[in-house]
Symmetry: C2
């Protein structure tokens, strides 16, 4: 059956993002090295991020506020104002960093755009994600860009309704089982998992959750057109 709509996650599916977070955390550890051991810091930052999701949602700005809160907590308020400014400067650097596309992304997306309606579905800060799409050079290939606060079954169901697409004619590609693959698979749509080299702890799903749910796994995005041809040829 032909596909009506092919959607891509953006961060670490179309372009590299993980290194920005990893670099920011490395610099954050450096800043706080006089006060705190690195092991303590990473665990505590993750805890603070999770605790703050209900206030800030996903994205660089919430991540930054959580870094600041972590720094204050772990130093009992002794962290210097100038160090906190450096944390804010890390955020600004993340928000304006050059966009580095993953291998094979540009030709793959360009080829698929000639035959299919393409969409980006990404979560995070609205303004940040919009400027990344604009700066990526890929905007022209995508008919729609949807920036959502979370990616769950309801989000995808609402998007399919908004765009009048049946689940069987929708395919979603991404690097997160939790956000891009499982909620799409449970709707009966096609889900394609393309793991990124590094996966954020919060995006990891135990194998048994995935068991029994049908999704495809590819090592590289360049393999996607062949998979789509196969899916459209069968049934």
């Amino acid at each position: 059956m032909p596909l009506d709509l092919i959607a891509f996650d953006a961060d670490d599916t179309l372009w590299h993002t993980e290194h920005l977070y990893a670099d920011a955390q490395a610099q954050f550890r450096g800043l706080l090295a006089p006060y705190v051991a690195a092991e303590t810091l990473n665990g505590h930052l993750f805890e603070v991020e999770m605790r703050n999701l209900r206030y800030f949602g996903y994205g660089v700005k919430g991540f930054t506020l959580s870094m600041i809160e972590t720094a204050i907590e772990l130093t009992d308020g002794r962290v210097a104002g100038t160090d906190i400014q450096r944390i804010i400067d890390l955020a600004k650097a993340m928000l304006t960093a050059d966009i580095k596309l993953l291998d094979e992304v540009e030709p793959t997306v360009a080829a698929l755009a000639q035959t299919h309606r393409l969409m980006i579905i990404t979560k995070g800060d609205l303004f940040d994600q919009e400027t990344k799409v604009a700066r990526s050079g890929l905007a022209g290939y995508f008919r729609h860009v949807e920036i959502v606060s979370d990616k769950n079954r309801d989000t995808y169901a609402a998007l399919l309704e908004r765009h009048s697409v049946a689940p069987q004619r929708f395919l979603m590609v991404g690097n997160s089982l939790r956000s891009d693959v499982l909620p799409v698979a449970v709707l009966g749509a096609h889900a394609v998992y393309v793991p990124y080299a590094v996966t954020w702890a919060h995006e990891t799903v135990a194998d048994h959750e995935a068991a029994g749910l049908g999704y495809h796994e590819l090592a590289r995005l360049g393999q996607l057109p062949a998979l789509i041809a196969q899916l459209e040829g069968s049934a």
Copy 2:
């Protein structure tokens, strides 16, 4: 001509928001009183906010990062970590504050929802705006909720295209000439200005910019159904 789509701004059009920013700034002034005079503080905060728009866009999280940056700058880095934590706590309070609807909003929106397709168009942090819509109790009246990073002519043109609505059949209501009224009027759509008691400096437009552009002004949202009946009756 009948209207196809009636859109409302949210903050300070459907529900009160300005007091949250005013209260946060008052507490911020209190926190920094040992270091800085109040007059210096307000002006500097506004400057920092404007300077940071290109990084953070609109919304509470960016506002908070700008408060922190202002505190650090004006104290030459001497602001205490515990005071910065209190700024973050102000943000959390803003993000979870009870939604207080403006007068006449609920009955007006309920009545219009029976005859027209209604939409919210708001800018700010995606996650924050979504939870406010949900907590407002008004979500059921709106067919669409559009959260955008900025409200300009292009934003509105893209929304009209997305929803397949001609400008003459679109009406937008809001409390900001700059964001809700002028960009809608220049598209040839109907724009209704309902001023809020307080207007943020950045949202103020000089009178001469508005001159010659056709828009309606109402003192209260409750006057909207009569205006709509009049618009639909004529032409």
